[in-house]
Amino acid sequence: MRLAAIAGVAAILGIVACSPSRPTHAVVRDTSQRKHAPDFALKDANGKLVHLTDYQGKVVLLDFWATWCGPCKVEIPWFMEFQRKYKDRGFEVLGVSMDDDGWKAITPFVEQKKINYRVVLGDDKTGDQYGGLEALPTTFVIDRNGRIAAVHVGLAGKKDFSDAIEKLLEDRALPAGGNSIRSDGADAHHRAGTHG
């Protein structure tokens, strides 16, 4: 299974601890409270490696989902709408499928739903980097500087997402070199002894 046994989403994000069986509706946290989004290298349907750092400077909605996850299917049409609506403003949706059966399961689903954003196949390592992902959907909203601004575990409200995206799109990115997406798992700002 691509999902780790123990959920650590709360730990990695520093959100208020709660039962993973209950949805979390995290608001967009202050920039000083945001932690870096771990980078990853995952393949898309064409076998092309996709890194989170490819999205540097953009607001990213990172959705961990699976074809067998009913609540995930509710959110996907919203994310397709967001992709259309906000793409020109520097926004991208990136779906990370946690299906054990890989593209055999994902490809027909993506074609059937006409998903208009990039989907990559997740793995245990990435799941661990993002806190274990005990429950799906788990969705991270990442700011232009590669920091996690909000996380939703479980089916969230469409407006929760759109409000977060709108707010983050209004924010400016840090100057060049200030992006905190790192491939070594370290937080750039913390390493540099700075915050926010």
């Binding site: 299974m1 691509r2 999902l3 046994a5 959920a7 039962s19 993973p20 069986s21 209950r22 949805p23 699976a66 074809t67 067998w68 996850c69 009913g70 609540p71 995930c72 299917k73 509710v74 946690m98 054990d100 399961a105 689903f109 005990e134 429950a135 799906l136 959907p137 575990v153 479980g154 089916l155």
Partner: protein, 134 residues
């Protein structure tokens, strides 16, 4: 935490050589959670699946619990699910040449659980039945 499906201990089953033995066991999910039945309504959903993987008996038909049709906030149509406590029965043929005495029949039960807002990774739990072959 993700819901854990628990399987109640199964009393030792007496199996007579050359006859049929029926083995039933009870499983349970915590309140508020469901698992797809063995015949889910959507091809993408992961069915409840019992597999017998080892032992002296030959499985000759599995009877899954009667599914409930339940509506959840994330589904437009009712889903075919199991909830709470349920039983699964298996009819076995006992080979005439099966060794006499104690033995074990081993299997696995795969399930994938959700509540009304999120889903949890598919899990596979072991099922072991003690046998007394006569």
């Amino acid at each position: 935490m993700a819901p854990t499906l628990t399987i109640a201990p199964v009393p030792t089953v007496k199996a007579h050589k050359g006859a049929v033995a029926v083995v039933s066991f009870k499983a349970a999910l915590p309140p508020g959670f469901h698992a797809n039945s063995n015949t889910p309504t959507d091809a993408y959903l992961i069915p409840l699946t019992l597999k017998w993987t080892g032992g002296p008996l030959q499985a000759d038909g599995i009877t899954y619990p009667k599914a409930a049709q339940e509506k959840y906030s994330f589904s437009e149509k009712p889903l075919s699910v199991v909830t709470g406590e349920f039983s699964i029965s298996t009819k076995f043929k006992v080979p005439a040449d099966a060794p006499s005495g104690p033995a074990a029949q081993n299997g696995t039960l795969r399930y994938q659980a959700c509540n009304d807002r999120m889903c949890f990774a598919p899990k596979t739990v072991p099922v072991t039945v003690a046998l007394d072959i006569e």
